[in-house]
Amino acid sequence: MTAMEFLMLTKGPLFQAALAVFALGLLARLVEIFALGRAHNYAAPRGNAALGGLRTMYKRFEPDPGTFKAAPFDVVVGMIWHVGFIVALLLFIPHVELIKSTFGIAWPALPNPVVDAVTAITLLGLLAALVHRLAHPVKRFLSTTEDYLIWSVTFLVMLTGWLAYHRMINPYPLALGLHILAAEIFLVVLPFTKLTHIFTAFVARYYNGAIYGRKGVQS
């Protein structure tokens, strides 16, 4: 297979397939969660559950000062690479074009050198996160194969993207194809692993906020 055939394969049928698996899997997972439902709560509420839920969806982006003090590395590195990942995903011009063509919506993007720098920082952040996972007693204790799997999948997407941007893999169709393939692996793996947290974290935060919001506490 030539590099161009590989690129066409990843851009064409594989992309469609990955997108299909992703959409199907993710929605299935989400609906599966919601379908479980919740028991009716008979206790008289103190506060507004829905409002609390919505607030917590946002609030958990800000770490509380105590957690920052206890685990500054987690907070800073975690924040950096998550933001970096999202910036690279949503604000890189080729990605904006891709989203525009797929969903018909578009937004302003960042200059390439900015995304490049953000990506480099994100890669370093991910490496640091891995080292931390291997070194920190709690993280090492908790970590399963799946945790390392999703790290690898995430890292590969970023790495191949960065290498393709810098044209460090030749010829370019191969570089781009590898990046697209990595993204497809990411999409396919997402619904079936804890990568779903990208979406379910907001559901979880909502429930957390609603449970506490009902009791009058902003969690």
Partner: protein, 379 residues
């Protein structure tokens, strides 16, 4: 230039050993300075650094004219048009005068049986030495040969017969090199590229739709000069011309790096000459020499004219997504598929969720009340 193409008199047998290029130049009264100039221009033509000129001079001095047979199959004659519009007639003529273009059914004066006879004769006389240039793709061995024939001979038969005793094959244009437009989806004629059929001879691909004229002559010049095949990339294209991407050599590259893009063909960015990536430029994945050699005698080239690179020198570029869609945009309609898959996901999830829910419900039904009495048994 084309009219200057030499036609060997009919029926004449193989001539006595031809003079070298150096000899024939001197015989024509070309001075040493003229020769130096020719070498400098040839170096430029071959995309070699000027410092290679002495080596070129030494090589050209003893170069002998090779015989060339040019076969045109499923093509639009664009490649020939490109070649005949080369901008530097002097150098061009010298190169083409030096080769012996023994068969080219668009350019040659002979027609019909005489033309075919010329081809057969050249093959016979120069067995193992001649070059075959092909433009156009051809119906593959399993396709209906009737899609393209010349003088009642199928393209496939003619190619295989002609190539049998060739020294090398040069596939000129994206059709010959990769199948091109005829091979584009759904490929009704079963078109294939030359390299799909010729496995036992070196094949040099000079892709492009059409290729830069200088690249065509440059490859010929290289063969003529050094008598050997140039270094090739993974698509068998000469690295000298196809070693770098349009993107890497594009004068608009700084705008890409700064993130300045034209978003429509008439916006401020387009007027200021910003990067055309978002307008579908395939420069990043396209390997060709347009950005430096340019077209029309160095006047301009597509990107300089404000048009995104179509990626015409790459395999299957017709099927590689819309010409005006950004490189990152996949071909096909993902949106509808996404909706369908999403709907299926909702259905699957609802099914799975309801099953799970019924599991909690049946668990609740099977609930055995914990009582103090039974707890007491544990103490």
């Amino acid at each position: 230039m084309a009219t200057a193409t030499p036609q060997r008199p009919q029926g004449q047998s193989m001539p006595t050993p031809q003079p070298t290029l150096g000899e024939s130049l001197r015989r024509n009264g070309v001075s040493r300075r003229g020769f130096l100039k020719l070498c400098a221009a040839t170096a430029s033509l071959m995309a070699l650094p000027p410092s290679m000129a002495p080596a070129i001079a030494a090589a050209l001095e003893s170069a002998r004219r090779p015989s060339v047979i040019w076969l045109s199959f499923q093509e639009c004659t664009g490649c020939t048009e490109s070649l005949t519009r080369s901008f530097s007639p002097t150098v061009e003529n010298l190169i083409l005068d030096t080769i012996s273009l023994d068969y080219h059914h668009t350019l040659q004066a002979a027609a019909g049986d005489a033309a075919e006879h010329a081809r057969e004769e050249a093959m016979h006389a120069n067995a193992g030495q001649y070059l075959v240039v092909v433009d156009g793709s051809l119906p593959g061995p399993r396709a209906n040969p009737g899609y393209s024939t010349i003088a009642g001979i199928s393209n496939y038969d003619m190619l295989m017969e002609t190539v049998a005793d060739a020294a090398a094959v040069i596939a000129v244009g994206s059709c010959a090199a990769f199948g091109g437009l005829p091979k584009a989806d759904p490929n009704p004629s079963g078109a294939v590229a030359v390299q799909d059929l010729v496995k036992d001879k070196p094949v040099i691909n000079v892709s492009g739709c059409p290729p830069l004229p200088m690249v065509i002559t440059g490859v010929l010049a290289q063969y003529l000069t050094f008598g050997k095949l140039p270094e090739l990339d993974e698509y068998n294209r000469p690295l000298a011309f196809f070693g770098q991407s349009i993107h890497d050599r594009c004068y608009r590259r700084p705008f890409y790096d700064k993130g300045l893009f034209a978003e429509t063909f008439d916006d401020e960015g387009a007027k200021k000459g910003w990067c055309l990536y978002r307008l579908g430029c395939k420069g990043p994945m396209t390997y060709n020499a347009c950005a430096t050699m340019k077209w029309n005698g160095g006047v301009s080239w597509p990107v300089e004219a404000g048009a995104p690179c179509l990626g015409c020198s790459e395999p299957d570029f017709w099927d590689a997504g819309g010409f005006y869609d950004a490189l990152s945009v996949p071909p096909g309609n993902s949106g509808d598929m996404l909706l369908a898959a999403g709907a299926a996901g909702v259905a699957v999830g609802a099914g799975a969720g309801l099953l799970a829910r019924s599991k909690t419900k049946s668990a609740a039904k099977q609930h055995q009340t914990v009582t103090a009495a039974e707890l007491e048994q544990k103490l």
